[in-house]
Symmetry: C2
Subunit: 454 residues, 2 copies
């Protein structure tokens, strides 16, 4: 009896075990440049018990397991590079419990952040991590995702209080709990968060929630140069205002958005800022930010407090990723994800811009400057080996520049496939501990092989 029939027998539902070509194709790639590879079979589990049955089966036979959520990974996490079984977790999308008085919720991994926020509205609460895509909570935990809100609320690892995890051999374990803090033994929850599907498969998550701020104000300021914009961002960080978000978008990106959306945003390095908190703290903060932007010689300053106008004001930022894709039809995209100490950001961006121009390439630079994390999106023809080499050189230079300043090669996307060699440059003397943990948790190496480690 073949693998397919074996799994059907364990799941007991032919509908949720498929070899359909279209479905395999859909599970063969992420959003970035990495070479696609189809799984041999895609399973849609409904319960932890089903995940456990599939893993126990795969572990005995050394069959690779690749967990799959919304498919929005930018580092190829969901590509089954050695084939095998892809676990599509999107049918496990139940919100099991919302405890408004405890500011926490218990969810299955396939719940998306928008789905959760929709359910939280009536309690005046929300889930703060927003990576852009409507990712699943399980996938966001797997990569320790963050995004525009992390400057105020922290990253995924700060939100996950506890996990139910299925280990490689099918064992179901529980970590953490519902207390806001604990010193009970090793922090397994934090170890699983960011492990990119290589240590276990999440089947349940306990996450922290936040109260929706009383007031929110969106600001947009354009500057004469990228360094001036970045420098102003650093000043705003130090001012201690009620900062909710602070994003930087460079002129190339604004240009791409204008082309893509037929808009006519001022083509200049632009800071998108959101202040949130009590009405008065937002009012105060707005005035301070306005002053700092003027001192930074901003050439245009705009402000919107009503929610529709706020969305419009942020549109250029929100469309950035899509616009860049549209601007380079048929090309593959590589997004760098370095994060540097905040004081190094302006110079790092200046250096990156210069580097890109030296190589005669175009690139969009934008990012979460509040925590020193910025993205350089480079478009290239994956079949033009000479161009690929150039792109790789640039990525390497950007990463090494960041590492030399105490930074990291990935602030929020994860190592995945494309940054594995950089992990060794960044954590050369501790990677062996990570590998030891990997071998301990997954002796047969069935969990998401080809990710994180070389």
């Amino acid at each position: 009896m073949g693998m397919y029939e074996d799994i059907v027998e364990r799941i007991g539902d032919r509908e949720r075990v498929t070899r359909n070509e279209t479905v395999l194709e859909q599970h063969s790639k992420g959003l970035a440049y990495h070479a696609p590879r189809k799984p041999d079979v895609v399973v849609f589990p409904n319960t932890a018990a089903e995940v456990s049955a599939v893993l126990a089966y795969a572990n005995e036979r050394n069959i690779p397991i690749t967990p799959f959520g919304a498919g929005s990974s930018l580092e190829g996490h969901i590509i089954p590079v050695n084939g095998g079984i892809t676990l599509n977790m999107t049918k496990m999308n139940r919100i099991l419990e919302i405890r408004p008085d405890d500011f926490l919720a218990v969810v299955e991994p396939g719940v998306t952040r928008m789905q959760l926020n929709e359910a939280l509205k009536k309690y005046g609460l929300f889930f703060p991590v927003d990576p852009g895509a409507d990712a699943t909570i399980g996938g966001m935990a797997a990569t320790n995702a963050s995004g525009t809100n992390s400057v105020k609320y922290g990253v995924m690892r700060d939100q996950v209080l506890g996990l139910e995890v299925v280990l490689a051999d099918g064992t179901i374990v529980h970590t953490g709990g519902m207390a806001l803090k604990s010193s009970a033994g090793y922090d397994l929850t934090g170890l699983f968060v960011g492990s990119e599907g290589t240590l276990g498969v999440f089947t349940r998550l306990i996450v922290r929630l936040q109260g929706i701020p009383e007031a929110t104000n969106a600001l947009k300021a354009s500057f004469v140069s990228l360094p001036m914009a970045a420098q102003t961002a650093a000043e705003i960080m130090k001012a201690g205002v009620a900062l909710g978000k602070i994003e930087l978008v460079d002129e190339q990106t604004i240009e791409a958005v204008n082309r893509y959306k037929q808009t006519n945003y001022l083509v200049a390095p632009t800071l998108f800022i959101e202040l949130s908190g009590s009405a008065t703290s937002v009012k105060e903060g707005t005035e301070i930010v306005r002053q700092l932007c003027e001192e930074g010689q901003c050439v245009a300053f705009q402000m919107e407090d009503d929610s529709i106008a706020r969305t419009a004001l942020w549109e250029a930022r929100h469309h950035a990723a899509f616009a860049i894709q549209a601007a380079y039809p048929g090309k593959a995209l590589l997004s760098t994800d370095v994060c540097v100490p905040v004081s190094e950001l302006a110079e790092a961006i200046r250096n990156t811009r210069q580097l890109v121009e030296e190589h005669g390439l175009t690139a969009a630079i934008f990012g979460h400057v509040g925590d020193g994390n910025y993205h350089t999106v480079l478009a290239f023809d994956p079949n033009d080996t000479e161009e690929v080499t150039r792109i790789e050189k640039i990525h390497e230079h950007i990463v090494r520049y960041a590492l030399a300043r105490g930074g990291t090669c990935t602030g929020e996307h994860g190592i995945g496939i494309g940054k594995r060699r950089f992990l060794y440059e960044e954590h050369g003397d501790s990677v062996m501990l990570m590998k030891g943990i990997k071998r301990l948790f997954d002796p047969n190496g069935i969990l998401n092989p080809g990710k994180i480690f070389i």
Copy 2:
């Protein structure tokens, strides 16, 4: 040649390797009830290289290593239960770097929080974790300490961005870095934080800093009953005010303080609250808190915004621990450390108070109610086996009550010696993963044996 001479040879300084009885005695106990045990020798390393040399030596000979900081552990972490070498880290107390623009500092493990805060004053910055004692940053990281400020700033694990750690075999490794966030591989930093000296010895820490708030206001409100005070605390948590601290002290503790300090504080369950942030947000928050306290039928409300008066107002809370010790001369103290979901706190405290009275004992109850963490301090005669049994029963009941509600047996003190059996009740199905990690990092089990695991 004996161990002593071997170590002297490796350290090359007889002054920093001692078998002096008084020194051994000083390194034989913590602040709590656990049975003391003297180490065979105490070493005062100056560098990571010296720590590495001692560990490499001890690892070859299976000699236990117990790291020691300020000696303020409440769970016996620093008691060398099997003798061996105690590493007193207090000579490694250099502040290596302060980067005000990056809101971070690089320190050696023996730096104390007050020493660090003294050095940070001139930058308008401070290190937010305050466990009460003037603990070392290394020790606080080892137990994932928190304290009064954690409701606003988080716990130690949230502050430590990177570590230099000496492993059991003497290997020196580095984790994390200076970026405010990273998704580069497994979170080894978070794994070492809270490992209670069982996975490695910290020799350098990169920690986050915070800006000193523009305004701070201290409030004190007394209530007719403990549940009313706890309930009001929960309401204040939900109000979204600029909360800096929120502490609850029960009447027995106030009474003990009055006896200890010859003060005459109103003997009633009391909330100690600190608001901090912008001047206006503190002003706003004060009014909201005052209203909520009135709705909670508070019988006395006091407020101080100048710093000396604030300290005076908080004195009762700050002296609590010492006062309780003074109140029970010659008795041993056991402090419970459970943390429950915030909504369960009022009922948990009511249940604890009732339990203590049923057993005809006196106990002080106080804690960090902002995150559901409270302490029950029980005084007992360690030689009265009948009383010891009663105390253990009460501790067990309090812990099981918390665990049944998704809470934890320790919010901030750590497992140490006294809570090991509760770790198995709390994390029964994942303790084997913790033990596996322990074996992986410390195959010979030389690092702080007898802590965390049975």
